[in-house]
Subunit: 313 residues, 2 copies
């Protein structure tokens, strides 16, 4: 079993690659739910949806999130009715939120609802929310603490970041499915998702943190920073605001106590010695995923590398 | 103040006419909510929406319900996800249900939510749900009791009707706004809506029944049956199944204890004596509303007729 930890777009792309090189019963993707929120009375789970849509081949190739061929009649009607329009829900996308919300209100767990949605979309590997309990990322800024989507979407990541809180994480429990997958893991892969708001919330759930740290499997991360910049999203801006080195070395420093190895992009090949000096294994690969072939190649190369550790050691 | 009692398409058309011949503060439309239901976790209020959309000039002119220029991305996504597709929610229409549901769950009354939606759509007369409490039409058929939308939409009115129950009506309370409008009414108009499933539920709320019956205002109904057939919907089929005369005389018989006068279509002019023989006033007008001009003409003629009673008597 390979267990991947994923957030949004970058994580979803790598998860797609893994899903194409592994049998479905050998892959479990544990997805961040700390940027879930209730909007217009609907339970919106951005990272779960990005992973689902990407695995199903339905994602919008230009944005990486949302659905290809989306239409926006709902939003135009919401605006006509004076409703909030800062978070845009597409006509097709909203069907996911409506069905999810209905089933959660009926008492189903998010893990079950996600499995049903995945089954309907033909996704055969396991996609698991990190917890069925609510965890909510709060962003600490100089002017106050903001709910994640307020910071991320409404304010377009403009406020400087001082830190993060993951409300509910301390008491959130991992699902049995997630714990079973981690216990059976041959390797654990931290996808190139935002370390602070996609991967950190997963480790903020005590049961997951413990299960990952005590797993016998080797743990590898793929750097979301290439050549000192984030491929997408606010990871680099956050690193700067948090006083970290905005480079793959900063990523290695952040992950050094969590992972055994780090995949660096070819652009950062010169930094392998600095990563290894921190006690991590380092490998250089093309990590930019512009198309499906890139995703599959990165997934295969990462797995090959980690499997080599076991046979060599 | 003119108070109109309305259900769906026929009622909405007459309400539109009234809204064009009366100052907004002189018109209150009390709308059936007994065919409201929860679908996909959303509070759907078909008659309120038909009245709102019609008054706002947004209704689909071909169907009479729903929105003009509607799109169906949401439904195609619901089908892809294996959700129920028998009740079709358009992309624009669903914005109404989502906002309504969110506000109801936040504790607002349906009367308030409806007022807000109407204000956003530029509707200036009062549109009031018959009650803020849930009332649900149940259809008695030879094979069992069906929720209204199951009968009406899913089974396309195919089962024979034995009778109706309005669950919750006995304990439902009218809003203060509805009672105030009825107390101030100069005339009460029963729009040409289905007598059994649009008008009857309004009278099934004891407080409304009493307020209408004790109002000093004259009460007039516009026949939904023209030439022995319903303009739209299952009214004629229901009359037959209930053993009533499928004609404006059957309507007069059904309404004789509730109203003072009945507007008949020109096609039924020969039946005026039969209506008058039941103790009702009768007037002949063109009642088929094919366009806005028809609606305005019928509304004005009905008001002129009823006002004539007062000045003459």
């Amino acid at each position: 079993m390979i267990v991947a930890l994923a957030g949004g777009v970058g994580g979803a792309k790598m998860a797609f690659g893994l899903s194409r090189v592994l049998p479905p019963d050998r892959l479990t993707i544990i997805v961040n739910t700390a940027d879930d929120f209730e909007h217009l009375g609907l339970h919106v789970a951005p990272d779960l949806d990005t992973v689902m849509y990407t695995l199903a081949g339905l994602a919008n190739p230009e944005t990486g999130w949302g659905l290809a061929g989306e239409t926006w009649g709902f939003m135009s009607a919401i605006e006509r009715l004076g409703g909030p329009s800062w978070f845009r829900l597409g006509d097709h996308d909203i069907a996911t939120h409506v069905l999810r919300t209905e089933r959660l209100r009926a008492g189903e767990r998010l893990t079950e609802v996600t499995a049903e949605l995945c089954a309907a979309l033909g996704i055969r590997c396991a996609v698991l929310p990190m917890s069925d309990d609510p965890v909510r990322t709060m962003v600490e800024t100089p002017t106050g603490v903001l709910p994640f989507q307020e910071y991320f979407v409404h304010l377009k990541c403009e406020p400087a970041v001082r830190g993060f809180r993951f409300e509910g994480a301390a008491t959130a429990k991992p699902s049995e499915q997630a714990l079973a997958a981690l216990a059976a893991a041959e390797a654990i892969v931290l996808c190139p998702s935002n370390p602070f708001v996609s991967i950190a919330p997963i480790f903020a759930v005590p049961g997951l943190d413990k299960a990952i740290r005590t797993a016998k499997a080797p743990i590898v991360a793929v750097s979301p920073i290439i050549g000192g910049a984030a491929v997408k999203g606010p990871a680099a801006k956050m690193m700067q605001e948090l006083g970290l080195d905005v480079s793959v070395v900063g990523i290695a420093s952040h992950y050094r106590k969590l992972v055994d190895g780090l995949v660096l992009d070819e652009a950062d090949a010169a930094l392998v010695p600095a990563v290894e000096a921190m006690g991590l294994r380092g490998a250089v690969m093309p990590t930019l995923m512009r198309n499906d072939a890139d995703r599959i190649r990165l997934a295969q190369a990462t797995l090959d590398w980690v499997r080599g550790w076991t046979s060599a050691s």
